[in-house]
Amino acid sequence: MTDDRPLLEVTDLQTHFETDEGTVHAVKGASFTVEQGEIVGIVGESGSGKSVTALSCIRLEEPGEIVSGSIRFRGTDVTTADERRLRRMRGQGMAMVFQDPTTTLNPVFRVSEQIAEALKVHEDPDSQRLLDYLHVPPFSDRSDWADKRRRAVDLMHEVGIPNPDERVDAYPHEFSGGMRQRAMLAIALAREPDLLIADEPTTALDVTIQAQLLERIRNLNQDLGMAVLLITHDLGVIAELCDRVIVLYDGEVMERGSVDRMLIDPRHPYTRGLLECLPQTTPRQSRLSSIDGEVPDQIGPGSGCPFAPRCEYAVEECRTGEMPRVRLEDGRDAKCCRPEVLDADPAEVE
């Protein structure tokens, strides 16, 4: 594998949903990268396409459809990969923790079993036999499964589930929300991923549990060098954990760059709006809902800048024209047709 390539490289991704009301353009040409070992945040209001972007990366966008663009993971384009390659990628490279821990574990199987399965897939993604996974005696190696269950208990310990030994036989409904989310993390870690995608892993949890879980993710990143794509509403979390951040609005990347710079010196009017409505005292619980106006519905392709209706600098061109990507200093860039608003050199417009 060539090391100068990013671990994940998303280029001009477009994901659509066909609905009765029309085509929903959930992601409209998002581009970003995640390098080996870094933590990248995706931030944006509800409905801005964060989850759909993440799901597209691991190819679980159904019922949506990736209509154009490419997603390269360790150099292979996953948008065109076959089932077998996808299984390998999911089993040995990219893992995802979903938004809502109450519905993401299978209610009828023991938690330890669900972690053990992930260990088993990781070991050999290519030969998965149904009867083996159903534990039908002659086709299933009992001692191997017993061994996997023991390792599952170790993993439960590792992610901070209390008394894992007593919980070998526990089902998801016997776990609290925080424990379930940790179990999801254990399922992800079982595959020793290079990239962990965490879709608002803490929104359903209370503040202390949130902090513990994020700390856990940070440690995994530092100790194992696991890259993380962290999706959140919460700029406080971004500030604390991430190296770089991607600001998503209505399925488009408005601004991207290093966290330090962007939080001090936001350029895109949308990013500025986001930061302004962040209450200084309790950054942890802030929600990005206080910019005037509403997120547009995403039916139809739309034209111009999606933020134009809410933007105080908007001119006629913003509503109709193509939005160019403008390079800013420190490797940042923003999508806007008015370099003067971005305080940028007009020569840097692409």
Binding site: I58, L60, E83, L86, R87, R88, M89, R90, G91, Q92, A95, M96, F98, D100, T103, T104, L105, N106, P107, V108, F109, Q114, E117, A118, V121, H122, P125, Q128, L130, Y133, L134, Y171, H173, E174, M184, I187, R191
Partner: protein
């Protein structure tokens, strides 16, 4: 688990008490004096008053009704379902002899139903709107709407009379079991297929299916392990209630194929007004029904860990 079964057993006792009273009452309140009817049948002439008196005394028909009931129950509890009006064999023995034939038919029919409906229901859900789905939907529509007796005669005409593959009637060998089992099983298969299809469609939308796929599990394991087990929960509940359908169907199928069994025994007894047999059979069928429902409840709780054996859910 044991407490659950114990509690269910207590309620079963009450249910069976109710059933026994009804069964008993059914005979007592049926118009016509059984003594007269049976004797006329046996001798082909109007019976004398004396013969009727004798018959009534022999069968305890002159005692007060509660006493008759208690006598009957006391015998039943000892496993004695009484004596047929016509045959010398005790009712209990007659039922036991025929029970095996019906059980064989029922088990074979359920096997047929499962072998057809599990793949049909799952494949139909996985390929919604495609050819296999349409085929299975059409098949199950036919299966649900075609009466057992008609399907039975159809199979006899095609496979026995025309192709001469299977015998028209009889019991005992596997070849004689095939057509009745298919007849009875196909209706149940149709019901399970439809249920399983819609239940699978629901389950496949669930987020934990996304989790299973995201682990890198192959689709077959996602479908037949993660989705199927969940999809079974509503199916088992309904299938448990289908047990009555199975017994009903067995009666008809036994008549169509002239198979010995509880169904044919029941029909013969009803036409002959051989009430001890009818009473005994109804009671036995009720017990089977109640026990099968208990088994379904246990199975249900085994499949869905969220339901605990001590009652409530969390």
């Amino acid at each position: 688990m044991y407490r659950f079964i114990l509690r269910r057993a207590v309620s079963i006792v009450f249910v069976l008490f109710g059933v026994s009273v009804t069964t008993f009452g059914m005979v007592v309140f049926t118009p016509g004096d059984p003594a007269e009817i049976v004797l006329r049948e046996q001798t082909a002439q109007n019976p004398s008053q004396e013969a009727i008196r004798e018959f009534r005394a022999e069968h305890g028909l002159d005692d007060p009704i509660p006493v008759q009931y208690l006598d009957w129950m006391a015998d039943v509890l000892r496993g004695d379902l009484g004596q047929s009006y016509y045959h010398d064999t005790p009712v209990t023995t007659m039922i036991i002899r025929r029970f095996g034939d019906t059980a064989e038919l029922a088990v074979a029919a359920i096997l047929v139903a499962l072998v057809i409906s599990i793949p049909a229901g799952v494949i139909s859900a996985v390929h919604t709107g495609e050819l296999p789905d349409h085929a299975s939907q059409l098949g199950s529509l036919l299966g649900v709407s075609m009466p057992n007796f008609w399907l039975g005669y159809l199979l006899i005409v095609v496979f026995s009379l025309y192709l001469e593959l299977f015998p028209v009637s009889g019991a005992g060998t596997v070849r004689e079991l095939v057509l009745p089992a298919v007849t009875l099983g196909s209706g149940i298969a149709a019901i399970i297929t439809r249920l399983l299809r819609s239940s699978m469609l629901d389950v496949l939308e669930a987020e934990y299916i996304g989790t299973a796929r995201s682990k890198g599990l192959r689709e077959r394991i996602v479908v037949y392990k993660h989705a199927f087990r969940n999809a079974l929960i509503p199916v088992v509940t309904i299938v448990g209630l289908q047990f009555g359908y199975l017994l009903n169907g067995a009666v008809i199928v036994e008549i169509v194929f002239q198979r010995p069994g509880l169904g044919t025994l029941l029909i013969e007894a009803i036409f002959a007004r051989d009430y001890p047999i009818v009473q005994g059979l109804v009671l036995v069928i009720a017990v089977l029904f109640v026990v099968s429902n208990l088994l379904v409840d246990v199975a249900y709780r085994y499949i869905d860990p969220r339901i605990r054996f001590d009652g409530g859910t969390r």
